[in-house]
């Protein structure tokens, strides 16, 4: 019995040693990966802040004003004016939906005179 127990204990010791060795290396690998990821996050954050700064720089009012003036032919952008406010009354009601023209209808009746057709 005794030698058997000793052998089992010794085997268990070897197994635990092997497990601890593997865990140690797995932990170190994971820490290395965390380091790399954090470096990547840091560099991406830096890139993000640079791009935010660049976005703000490219959208600075001076530049937009000059661009609007330079491209006036195409865009026709003007500073906002008080006269550009509309009233709700000036907005037209949506037209009633037109019947689908792809379908054919049998129509009976008289033809309206041309000047009423637009209404």
């Amino acid at each position: 019995m005794r030698p058997f127990l000793s052998i089992v204990t010794f085997m268990a010791l070897i197994a635990l040693g092997f497990w601890a060795y593997r865990e140690n290396y797995a932990t170190q690998a994971a820490l290395k990966e965390v380091d790399q990821l954090q470096q990547e996050i840091q560099s991406l954050r830096e890139a993000l802040s640079v791009q935010r700064a660049e976005w703000a720089y490219l959208n600075r009012p001076d530049r937009l004003r000059d661009l609007a003036a330079a491209n006036f032919d195409r865009l026709g952008l003007m500073p906002m004016e008080p006269t550009q406010f509309g009233t709700a009354a000036a907005v037209a009601y949506p037209r009633p939906p037109m019947p689908d023209v792809s379908l054919t209808f049998d129509v009976q009746g008289t033809t309206a005179p041309p000047d009423l057709q637009d209404q």
């Binding site: 965390v34 640079v50 660049e54 720089y57 001076d62």
Partner: protein
């Protein structure tokens, strides 16, 4: 094995020899005690040794750990998740809609270890090629005089860094730097101020604010707990840009030396735009003036809106009238003596251009026509003590509480004594000087129904509660009178269709440094409130030494200079704030009866 005390053999022998057998017993007893002592001593000695060992090991362990801790370089905890909290060492600054006004950028500093240099002479020459402001000879001297460390540049652009890399000398080294960047250039320069490096090391340098809100709120901006949350200002980028554009155009057209404008929300005290011209680029802050004779206003760093303490002229008249209304001394229709010139002791109070609006003028017309004499009579009704108390309650005796480092230094200039002649001159804005921001805060109280608001550059969530300085009726009547100024008085050029501008002009002669006033140098101010039927915004426009030369005669009054500039600002800015012009209602689509 226990030894008997009286071993029979020895006793018998002793008895035979006639000796005392008790001696044998005593001898044996002594030996037994000695044995016991020896054993006990050995035992105790072992225990002492064990204790010593334990303590030595414990102290050694603690000592080793301490020295390891002391000797290791600090590292970030690697296993913990690094959140978004710490990104930059200084928080961003944004406008009220979250658009960037100041941010950080990573860049590099250049330094050298001359002892590790391969070719100091060639390196110095090539560095001087890359950076034309460096002197090759001086640099070479610093590289070769035996020192071990030299700073070369605080900030490098990526292109410059690449060029330095291409020199390839091992003695040239880069240190990471975080640099403050103001992407909008000169926009809102006086609010932002600027920043520079504080304590510098090879691995990092602290960025500190040197002026404006960067310095005033330096602790907040550098607080690591709040570095992820940008500081949100009350400014609006589009409005600020528009105000600066119009103001700069006005300043050029009117040949003014400087100009300032403040646009403030009268309900909350939030400053939507604060402009001062001439301006500067906070990315490259100019050096302050060193010439002793130069006025502070000559430097572009001078913030005219906050630091510029001027006599604000007739814009003050509304305060005298509002107080008289509040005290029940007059009503808007009361006729007041306005016979010019008015003689008070050895002083003579005149109107502009030696006019005479008298003999009697209604209170409304005193404001509309800007009558000095009429205001003086009203001020005399109020008296010096009550006048001082009222101006104090409007904040004219203290620096403004706005979040700029320059603000506490800009104290209003108050006459030391307050005789009746000072009461008279103060009522029309002479003899006492305050900044345009003081004026904005006081006009905001009138526009806000008589309740003071604290001017602020930080975004507020809602209306604030303040001290009531006049009744709502007085405030209403004052705004109505200010509206008359634009409709039929001195500020007729200030009318903007649909926005019901109300306001008061002010033209003050500039005081000479040697005493007295300049004949031909004025500060023109227009203080406006709009829209008059429901006042929401206050606009102050100040022009320093303007001159309108568009007509045959030169004009220097505010009605011809500051007022049209302010009107253009309102016309451009009000739509940006979503303020709808109040126009005549369009004719309804109705059937009109027509006969044929």
């Amino acid at each position: 094995m226990r030894v008997p005390l009286r071993p029979l053999a020895r006793i018998l022998q002793a008895r035979q020899d006639g000796l005392n057998p008790d001696l044998i017993e005593r001898d044996n007893l002594r030996k037994r005690h000695e044995d016991m002592q020896d054993r006990s001593r050995g035992h105790n000695q072992w225990r002492l040794k064990a204790m010593c060992l334990t303590f030595t090991l414990a102290f050694a362990a603690i000592g080793t750990r301490m020295s390891i801790l002391a000797a290791t370089v600090p590292v970030e905890p690697r296993a913990s998740v690094q959140g978004a909290e710490i990104i930059a060492q200084r928080a961003d600054i944004t406008d009220r809609n979250g658009r960037l006004l100041a941010t950080n950028m990573t860049t590099h500093a250049l330094y050298a270890h001359p002892r590790e240099m391969v070719d100091p002479k060639g390196t110095a020459a090539r560095l001087a090629e890359i950076f034309p402001d460096l002197d090759a000879a001086a640099l070479e001297r610093r590289f070769t005089d035996g020192r071990s460390f030299v700073w070369i540049r605080k900030i490098l652009s990526p292109e410059q860094m690449q060029l330095v890399h291409e020199i390839g000398d091992p003695g040239l080294l880069f240190g990471p730097r975080e640099m403050r960047l103001y992407p909008n250039g000169t926009l809102a320069a006086h609010v932002l101020g600027g920043s520079s490096f504080g304590a510098e090391g090879v691995h990092s340098a602290e960025v500190i604010g040197v002026a404006g809100i960067e310095k005033a709120l330096d602790a907040r901006l550098r607080d690591p707990a709040q570095s992820a949350a940008p500081l949100t200002l009350s400014l609006d980028l589009s409005i600020q840009a528009t105000v600066e554009e119009v103001l700069a155009a006005g300043m050029t057209m009117l040949n003014a030396k400087g100009a300032a404008a403040i646009l403030m929300d009268a309900r909350t005290g939030e400053i939507l735009s604060l402009a001062s011209l001439p301006t500067f680029d906070p990315n490259d802050r100019p050096a302050p003036l060193v010439d002793k004779d130069a006025e502070p206003g000559d430097s572009p760093l001078f913030n005219r809106a906050v630091q510029g303490v001027y006599e604000l002229g007739s814009t003050f008249k509304i305060f005298a009238v509002a107080q008289a209304l509040e005290l029940g001394l007059v009503s808007p229709d009361t006729m007041v003596d306005a016979n010019a010139p008015m003689v008070w002791g050895k002083h003579k109070i005149k109107e502009f251009d030696n006019k005479n609006y008298g003999p009697l003028l209604s209170v409304t017309d005193i404001i509309a026509k800007s009558s000095n004499v009429g205001t003086a009579h009203i001020a005399l009704m109020i008296g010096p003590l009550r006048q001082q108390a009222f101006l104090k309650s409007l904040g004219f005796f203290e620096p403004t509480p706005v979040e700029l480092i320059e603000a506490p230094g800009a104290k209003p200039l108050i006459p030391k004594k307050w005789p009746e002649i000072v009461t008279i001159t103060t009522s029309y804005g002479h003899g006492m000087a305050a900044s345009p921001l003081h004026l904005a805060a006081a006009y905001a109280a009138i526009a806000n129904g008589g309740v003071m608001v604290q001017p602020t550059l930080l975004k507020r969530d809602g209306p604030t509660t303040g001290v009531r300085v006049m009744t709502e009726e007085t405030a209403r009547a004052s705004v109505d009178m200010l509206r008359r100024v634009v409709v039929e008085g001195t500020a007729s050029l200030g009318e903007v269709p649909g926005y019901e501008v109300a306001g008061k002009t002010g033209t003050a002669d500039k005081p000479k440094a040697s005493g007295g006033y300049y004949e031909d140098k004025v500060v023109n101010t227009f203080a406006a409130v709009f829209p008059a039927s429901n006042p929401q915004y206050v606009l102050i426009v100040t022009l320093d030494e303007p001159l309108d030369t568009t007509m045959s005669e030169d004009r220097r009054t505010a009605g011809w200079t500051a007022v049209p500039v302010a009107a253009e600002i309102i016309r451009r800015v009000a739509p940006l704030m979503g303020l709808r012009p109040k126009l005549e209602p369009p004719a309804p689509d109705a059937v009109t009866a027509a006969s044929n």
